[in-house]
Amino acid sequence: MTSILAVTGLTIAHRGVPLVRGIDLTIAAGETLALVGESGSGKSLTAQSLLGLLPPAFQVSGQAHLAGVAGNLLDPAVAQRVRGARLAMIFQEPMSALNPVLTVGEQIAEVLAIHAPHLSPMGQRQRVLQALAEVQLDPERIAASYPHQLSGGQRQRAMIAMALVAEPLLLVADEPTTALDVTVQAEVLALLRALQQRHGMAMLFISHDLAVVAQIADRIAVMQQGAIVETGTSADLLTAPRHPYTQRLLAAQPDRLPPRLRRAPGETLLAAHDLRVYFPIEKGVWRRTVGWVRALDGVDISVRAGEVVAVVGESGSGKSTLGRTLLGLQPLTSGSITLFGQEMAAVPLRAWRPLRRRVQVVFQDPFASLNPKATIGAQIMEPLTVHRIGASRAEQWALAQQAVEAMGLPSDTLHRYPHQFSGGQRQRIAIAKALALQPELIVCDEITSALDVTLQAEILQRLAALVAEQGLALLFITHNMAVVRYLADRVLVLYRGQVVEEKTHAELFAAPEHPYTQRLLAAAQLEPV
């Protein structure tokens, strides 16, 4: 097989700090090479350097040759010549990668105007429509649409059409499905695979997610700290990894974690009945309400002590609203919430305060969940003081220290500020902060989706231990079915504000009933237990 791309000794440094250390890559025609690694491994830098997209502050050296192109691809002048025509890229976030003031058709036509200038306006339009049809979009309608009129999946398809319209030899895809819902992600992956085979195009696929990579890659290269530690065919690498880091990555996949201890649930902590949260749609000068967005439309949910209840659903299904509502952070339109035997829906927010200690929350974004202007110690101890836990400051300090150390954080954590920690450490601090109050229930809103897979595994196992040993209850909001299968006792599938299916963990994975649940499970491609 002829190689389309050959990279030797690619090194990228920023202010003298090496970020990518002399990596070698080859991609053959029609082949998909996946570059897999955790955040900070240098995989995105590698992709951007091949297209000459790195800011001048980065020093790039090494050799990269594209079939049929004279000169080193890492030379900005060469990259400029081939970018878009022979080498195309699709990005993670399709909303920010498309220009919001131009129609999709105009943006695709612009690529053609540069790379195929001989085309007549009619011919150009033909090619645009053809490209959109190829990515299974309605060509006429989508060509005339602006990016904000499209869904996330449609946008990513439009991005792919734009990348493929000039018929590149190599497509670089940087986390192209990370921002998409699981079901949409599966469709886009299938589309990419089909298009690649039809065009005989080579693809460099960057991802942090081994489950995604397993669905699309022919060969996989694993990156760690700027170096490739292992390369192999998908089948070999996923079944018999040789390098310890690859082994660790694979072992950290939620569906490969050792099953957790489960116990019989205790008394009911939280029971909510017929929850409705509607947001008004207002129009015109007078802000007349013309309709309602039904974020939650008659949801029943209960959580018992020592039980993990998972809430799954796509973005916009109302799962985060449900978490916020149960915490009293979101006013209810109607319904009842019973927390520890007390009816909470009608009472003012102030009356929630005595119960706040017993229900804690951890959010998705570790960078936003801690106050950047206060030390970790102050932030953990303040709620302790408010809820009168610990007799003296020294005792509270000891409790905070204990909570931080239980999450495997350094012992000087309490003296430091949030910006001195990485995302994974901050998420562990956020969990420690919740645990310091010795709550009975924790609402976890996508707490691992911003984290690398090894960190996710660590946090999941720590939480599982707390559930098993102390009878902690979790309301676990997530979109990751593999995590659900590992952790949940009971699963609620939320779809457009309604619970479409509620089953115990074993029942759901054995026999999903609702079509949406079936699609969700099919898309997740879990290995059979």
Partner: protein, 375 residues
Amino acid sequence: MSSHRWLLRFAFGWLALLATIAAWAPLLANSFPLLVCYEEGCQFPAFRLFSAVDLLWLTGWGVAVLLWRVRWLWTIRVVVACVALLVAAGIGSQLEPPALVVHESWRTHLTAQPAQRVLWAPIPYGPRDYLRDFGSTALEPPLAAAPQRWHWLGTDDQGADLAARLIHASRIALSIGLIATGVALAIGVVVGATMGYFAGWVDLIGMRLVEIFEAIPTLFLLLTFVAFFERSLPLMMVIIGLTSWPGYARYTRAEFLRLRRIEFVQGAIAAGLPLTSILFRHMLPNAVAPLAVAAAFGVASAILAESTLSFLGLGLVDEPSWGQALNQAVKAAAFNWWLALFPGLAILLTVLAYNLLGEALRDALDPRYREGVGV
């Protein structure tokens, strides 16, 4: 970047110099000698004119220098500062400076009875010393040769030494800027925080209030008040403060609207923390960046407002002020350049320094400038 640092150093230097001059004004420019020694003993005539305000300025300056140089815990520093200022206020209230000062009395006395030792202030004239003993001294240009007198910056239309007046006027310039901005900040932050946190109806009503106050022209209101009431410095400070808070309220509101949606604030509510803690401990410290920048520019505009008022002849009576000196430059038949140049320069440098400070704060507090091109 290096030119930036140089400008910032200038801004800090000028403001520190101005504060020093303002604090030490009675000892820098005074018609009475600092020290007079006869055979029977020594006296300190200048110190007998000390008022409570003079003492507070000096104490404040001393405390500021001490706190800047000494590396104590912040709580200790604040306690020390408060104690020092209270003691100064206590002593100050006991001081009884003479109500009527005959400025030339020591000059005539010393010509009649020469002393063994006399120590004069660097500028041996007070701001309200119209040099009656020398006859007509009005509108003399700088360094004009006159027997027994020497005026570095010339004299004004009343015959007072311009340098002495400018030195004493720096107090007004500094205090009006800081206090008026402080009043505006206090109102703006409370109103803006309430609007931003509670949103909804509170926000709607608050914004209308902000718009009403934004529609009031500060200068026009000042002119009206000055015409109807006495011309007093506290009144001017309060009016400038009362009309300039809407800007701060808007900034605070915008920041609070953003912050209340952020997870750590939601988390603070979910942890059951009291409202005051959520507002002032978790939200306000994360909203100070735009406020600090706006406040630095606000101080500059308050100084300009006072100068404008004094220039229009509606400033304080008999109190030295930079704007008033500017007014005198154009009031006489001829254009008296020194009365325009020196106070004009003082206003320019001070306003420039505060603007540079504001810009530097904006750059320092903006995370985009904090680190270069990020990874």
